[in-house]
């Protein structure tokens, strides 16, 4: 029951992108195609799970006053690890995501979960929370990435759709990213509210 709640909150009712509106910068920048979105989502999920686990393990050991500095060092360490692994084994994703991999360090979802969950909970729930929030981030990015790739470039996972009909390039650009994000958030909020009984 509790596990189900963690996942429900991470992916739907507390989705980091649609509900908490955290991590907007990587969301907009890396959702130009589905594969980039999934690559970014999974990289962030890996960092989130590892940092939540370690921070939860060390929560009684780290003094209150230096907790943020410690969290950032731990997060930066895992991000650098991801950076090395992607460059070694998934070069095309590494190349496409560019500077946004190192920037996972300052992705506020990760610090937010460290501060508000991992530092107050036991190890297993913290790992699950990291996984759930990471999946929520990945799902949101993938939805946005799929919309922007299909409409903005006329492809999906690199395969040509529509046979040469000119795509709406604006959706692949930053301006289109903001527009698409707005519509997707509106739709997500509408669906979630309707499920709650339309209270708000």
């Amino acid at each position: 029951m509790k596990i189900k709640d963690i996942f429900k909150s991470g992916i739907i009712t507390d989705n980091p992108v649609f509900i908490q509106l955290l991590g907007m910068c990587p969301t907009l920048a890396t959702s130009t195609s589905l594969i980039n979105a999934i690559g970014m989502g999974l990289s962030a999920t890996f960092v989130l799970v590892c940092s939540n686990m370690l921070i939860s393990l060390l929560r009684k050991f780290i003094p209150q006053k230096i907790r943020i500095a410690s969290y950032i060092v731990i997060i930066a360490g895992f991000v650098t690890l991801v950076d090395m692994l992607l460059e070694a084994f998934f070069y095309s994703i590494y190349n496409a995501l560019g500077v946004f991999i190192p920037l996972i360090v300052v992705n506020c979802i990760i610090l937010a979960r460290a501060e508000s969950f991992a530092s107050k909970n036991k190890v297993l729930p913290s790992i699950l929370d990291g996984l759930a929030m990471g999946l929520g981030f990945t799902v949101a990015l993938a939805i946005l990435g799929a919309i922007r790739e299909v409409l903005g470039s006329g492809t999906i996972l690199g395969f040509e759709l529509f046979g040469g009909v000119a795509p709406l390039s604006v959706l692949a650009l930053p301006a289109g990213g903001f527009l698409a994000l707005g519509f997707v958030i509106a739709a997500a909020q509408h669906l979630i509210n309707r499920k709650r009984g339309g209270a708000d």
Binding site: T32, I74, G77, L81, A88, A172, L173
Partner: protein
């Protein structure tokens, strides 16, 4: 106070050790795959070459207009019997949002025989067209003199039309080709 300092030190030290270990395992793989990608590009550009010898004694920056363009490496392609069959010049012009890494092949007569992009990170669907627009890419082949960038249909042989809407990225591409041509001119003067 001391406890805080020691805790933070312990955390940073362990993270550093973890990263040192992972660097030890990943850096050879990274270096090897970078080498493979480079070899693949070189072989696509000059398939007849038996070896590519790096020319090391060369200045690594070329000025073009107001921009400085780095030239990370130059390779002399050797065919059978140690015959010089062309040059591959690795140039790095600045694109719209990031540096474009590309290799320009120049034949012994001094004209461009091909271009391979190693990495480009420009706007999808716009700047990235320089990687997919074959008409544009073919327009620089055969060029033997510094190209001029034009926006309308080219009138002379050394005029290259940029891709509409992607002026910055395609100008960068042409600048890269110009730098490569200049490098080969300099090499010939030295010999």
């Amino acid at each position: 106070m001391l406890r805080m300092a020691l805790t933070l030190f312990a955390i940073t030290a362990s993270v550093a050790i973890l990263l040192a270990i992972s660097n030890y395992f990943t850096s050879p793989i990274i270096a090897r795959s970078a080498k493979e990608r480079l070899d693949q590009s070189l072989n696509t550009l000059i398939p007849d070459a038996i070896s590519f010898d790096e020319i090391t004694d060369f200045e690594k920056e070329i000025n073009i207009g107001s921009a400085k363009i780095k030239v990370p490496a130059i390779y002399a392609a050797k065919g059978s019997g140690d015959q010089q069959i062309g040059y591959c010049i690795w140039v790095t012009p600045m694109g719209y949002s990031d540096v474009i890494d590309m290799i320009v092949a120049i034949d012994p007569k001094g004209s461009v025989s091909g271009v391979q992009i190693i990495s480009i990170n420009d706007t999808p669907g716009i700047g990235m067209k320089v990687q997919s627009d074959e008409g544009f890419q073919n327009s620089v082949i055969g060029l033997n003199d510094s190209a001029k960038i034009v926006k309308s249909a080219p009138a002379a042989k050394n005029e290259i039309q940029v891709i509409a809407g992607a002026t910055v990225s395609s100008s960068a591409y042409i600048n890269g080709v110009n730098v490569a041509l200049e490098v080969v001119q300099m090499l010939k003067q030295e010999v």
